[in-house]
């Protein structure tokens, strides 16, 4: 079974992002970039499925600037077999889903695994949108994925606990935090990844129009909370909550 894993280049998890003074976005110049953490989990899951023998080939894909090759090389070092870079900046989830649909039609994978959301725009939409465009089943927020002849059994993190759904293949799975713990690529694997095939294509080659639907009117700092007071004892805390804040 062939598997497609889309990944996204985002501002690293540990960077404290700053809003640009002109309100057009956040500062991304000279900022450390990494693979979206939920996508790392997706790559890891794909590699584990390959190690189990259920998956024969893993194709990593990204839609991003030329530098997003770095994230594809990371995916290759983790165990993906080859990679495709679709060169386009600032595509929205719907546009990304359209690109991925075109690639799915070309590559014919049985399963697409991707992160539930990217930690930049926090949109949480691409997987579901791709499933819709393909008419495939979707297993979002996965904490467990079991592949069999009948399909994919996906345990999902939902409000209040877990839910399990059975999906007919082909299917889309989006990953949640507790699906697995991604491996670090070893140095030999990083070296090997440099020799794995990486193809670059343009959205137009795939016949996809990426004209954005949304206009960013402005980006601003969120309202800040003011620090309050320190209390000296539990008694003082309870008294203040009762008489000052009046919340208990």
């Amino acid at each position: 079974m062939k598997l497609l894993v889309p990944v996204k280049r985002v501002v690293d998890y540990n960077v404290k992002v700053r809003v640009k003074a002109d309100g057009t976005g956040v500062e991304t110049a000279n900022v450390k970039m990494s693979m979206n953490p939920f996508d790392e989990i997706a790559v890891e899951e794909a590699v584990r499925l390959k190690e189990k023998g259920t998956v024969t080939e893993i194709v990593a894909v990204t839609i991003g600037p030329a530098q997003a090759q770095e994230q594809l090389r990371t995916a290759l070092a983790m165990g993906a077999d080859r990679a495709i870079l679709v060169e386009a900046d600032g595509a929205e989830p719907l546009g990304v889903a359209k690109v991925l649909k075109a690639l799915v039609e070309r590559e014919q994978p049985q399963l697409v695994i991707l992160g539930k959301q990217a930690i930049d725009d926090d949109m949480n939409a691409t997987g579901q949108m791709l499933a819709a465009l393909l008419g495939w089943s979707q297993g979002t927020y996965a904490s467990k994925v079991e592949l069999s002849a009948e399909g994919a059994k996906v345990t999902r993190e939902v409000d209040g606990g877990l839910e399990t759904v059975q999906l007919k293949l082909p299917a889309i799975v989006t990953t949640d935090l507790r699906l697995n713990e991604p491996r670090y690529a070893s140095l030999p694997n990083i070296m090997k990844a440099r020799k794995k095939p990486l193809e670059t294509v343009k959205p137009a080659d795939l016949g996809v129009d990426l004209t954005p639907r949304l206009t960013v009117v402005k980006v601003e700092e969120p309202p800040k909370r003011q620090a309050g007071v320190k209390v000296a004892s539990v008694a003082e805390l309870v008294s203040k909550l009762k008489t000052e804040a009046k919340v208990i």
């Binding site: 949480n124 579901q128 993190e157 759904v165 949304l214 320190k230 539990v234 008694a235 805390l237």
Partner: protein, 308 residues
Amino acid sequence: MAVLVLADRSGTTVSQPTRSAVAAAARIDADVHVLVLGGSEAAQAAARLAGVTKVIQADGPAYEHGLAEPAAALLVALAPGYSHLLAPGSAMGKNIMPRVAALLDVQIITDIAAVEGPDTFRRFIYAGNALATVKTADAKKVLTVRAASFDPAPAEGGAAAVEAAPAAEDPGVSSFVGAEIAQSERPELTAARVVISGGRAMGSAENFHLLEGIADKLGAAIGASRAAVDAGYAPNDYQVGQTGKIVAPELYIAVGISGAIQHLAGMKDSKVIVAINKDEEAPIFQVADYGLVGDLFKLLPELEQELG
């Protein structure tokens, strides 16, 4: 044109985040319809929500568990009658609405925190570190609503008619196998008036029980930081934060939580925040209204006693 809200059921009623989504919908248009999947009692509860003018109830095995594929097909069938389609930003809403949007060739806007106009909305990006105002060029709008940003519509006050949903095709590509939903006497985390959360400093799953006595006395829900969940001290559905649940209770008590940005993104809209931490430099104190520096193992029993 009317707006449609997909409801999240909560037993025999609709969830509080659904009522927040109704409140957001009412800022867009006065004619607010609600779609309830399964559950006639929940449909009756939706009909009583203030501001709701019509309830559509969809019955049938395909809708009972809120599977995304048939639910999205139904919403698409209903879409021609509406300018906006909304859902709470719950696990259900987040699962279904992007699928609906793509089927309609619309770019969804998720987790809206404010309605600036019929086509302009505000939402947090970068784990709550920035607030974006976005305007959509799509004729039809598909949105999910960040419940913490909208006061819920009152549960009583409406008297809407309930009608049956039109038949829609079930794509039949998925099926519900089962669910393990934690049974608790405590209020649901996203709807609780008081939340007490523990962090990594709780030290173990056993120690997490120290929060229970206090939660019982305050009628509080129990939450946890991601660090505590990752350490196995608390189940994953306790997680408060950008990647977990977003809460905005009257009172939020953070115990042994340092205040990582991901956690703050999930609770900083709380009305009153209390932080208990032994490190007086912990970032959580920068957002806390009341800070108490000290050993939680000493302070928690004291707090339970003081609450009588």
